[in-house]
Symmetry: C2
Subunit: 257 residues, 2 copies
């Protein structure tokens, strides 16, 4: 197996940043970062010690693989800039493999939330992979397994479902924590007071499953507390609306009326 040792990453966002950092840790892999914004491209290259290239040179550059870490809408257009006969990968949960029109296409989707200011330990991150190229499948799997201990082959259709579930489990649960943060800030109470609770919430959801882990006034059918909370939220109609909708759903799903 001829391993992938020369990777182009196109993009300058969170995924580009964290993939560049992860591949750079493999000392026999070279990473070249391409991006439209010169400023972001150079910042990313500096932060990860990657080399950098100009996007209009990509089509004639020599790389074992080109990883498109761009917005979902740009994947198809940008994929056409990649050299022919090169393995072209995207890293999106919500985009089908077939969006890449090159002959050798693949997906390397890390099931993780990434923000530049927070380091990612890729070794524990499930990486969902897919490819249309029998020739490149073993190379893609090998590359993924060099950065993660949890590599799974998965179809585009199934990956999209996992991605949607991830939006609820991560983006939406984070939004609820952000709502708590916003409420406490108005009351000048430090958010850190909730840290132990937040840590236990995810630990318990993993230990016994979130459905069994559900607690709170809605689940207890505690009408007094529910209406007290609603009164407290009267000055914030958005939070009040969320409060009522989610409380009602918790009650209807657990058969509490």
């Amino acid at each position: 197996l001829q391993q992938i040792s020369n990777i182009a990453i196109v993009g300058s966002g969170n995924a580009a940043y964290h993939f560049a950092a992860a591949f750079q840790q493999l000392h026999d892999v070279t990473v070249t970062v391409y991006a439209r914004s010169e400023e972001k491209r150079i910042a990313l290259a500096n932060a990860t010690n990657a080399t950098t290239g100009l996007l209009h040179n990509l089509s004639s550059a020599q790389h074992d693989a080109v990883l498109l870490a761009v917005t979902d809408q740009s994947i198809q257009t940008v994929s056409e800039l990649a050299p022919k006969n090169t393995l072209v990968l995207h890293c999106s949960g919500a985009t089908a493999l077939s969006v890449i029109k090159q002959e050798h296409a693949g997906v390397l989707y890390p099931l993780q939330t990434m923000t530049k200011s927070k380091a990612v330990d890729f070794s524990a991150v499930p990486i969902l992979i897919e490819s249309n190229s029998e020739q490149h499948k073993p190379r893609l799997e090998h590359l993924a397994k060099r950065i993660s201990e949890k590599v799974l082959w998965m179809t585009s259709e199934k990956r999209l479902k996992v991605h949607l579930a991830a939006v609820f489990a991560c983006n939406f649960s984070n939004f609820m924590m952000a709502s708590a943060q916003r409420f406490l800030a108005k009351e000048q109470i430090p958010f850190e007071l909730l840290h132990t609770l937040i840590a236990e919430t995810s630990t318990k959801a993993m230990a016994i499953g979130p459905e069994a882990a559900q607690t709170g006034p809605a689940l207890r059918g505690d009408k007094n507390v529910l209406s007290l909370h609603e009164t407290m939220l009267e000055e914030d109609p958005e939070l009040l609306h969320i409060y009522q909708i989610i409380s009602n759903l918790i009650q209807s799903q657990h058969g509490i009326v």
Copy 2:
């Protein structure tokens, strides 16, 4: 200081269970469990090695403190069963201290989510305390500090705000994880696939704050992915409704239109 070494706990729910277990770990403290349901009272006493008493005997029993771990609505009624001149405590976030009509009243509120099947490490749990009794304040603080390293004096008014924030950060974020679990179950995809993501979501929210930690298609303003997800949720109107509301709120709060 004469420490509290003989505690009555009234109730048989999650809080009663975990407080009984925590106090039983202090080998110089005796715990007696009182509850209406004989079955639950005995089950709780057996699980925690506490002794047990009949509720109608509580008023004449000798205890240093009586902890009411009952529903918020029952606190006032049950407090009247406690012996006069005894320190009577409740452990509710959402109920004012003044609901207890005894002369010596207090609050011992653990800011944590508790389910019987999951052990609680009290040492890291913030315990918010309050009392109307100058005589008993040092004893209450001493008791709380024996089980937790994070004991804070807090008024009823402020505690209620913390409790409401906790509903968002814990109960509602857990509900979002449960929604992901429900969706994946229908698709026969194991929920465990999301474990690393769930752990990182809370870790990142604590490290950089949930507002800065927000990611996802709504934040990116990715209309294609949003409408794709909505199509996938057409058969589950409840999840679709949550998806749209939360996505819209993420966008409006982050100034994305």
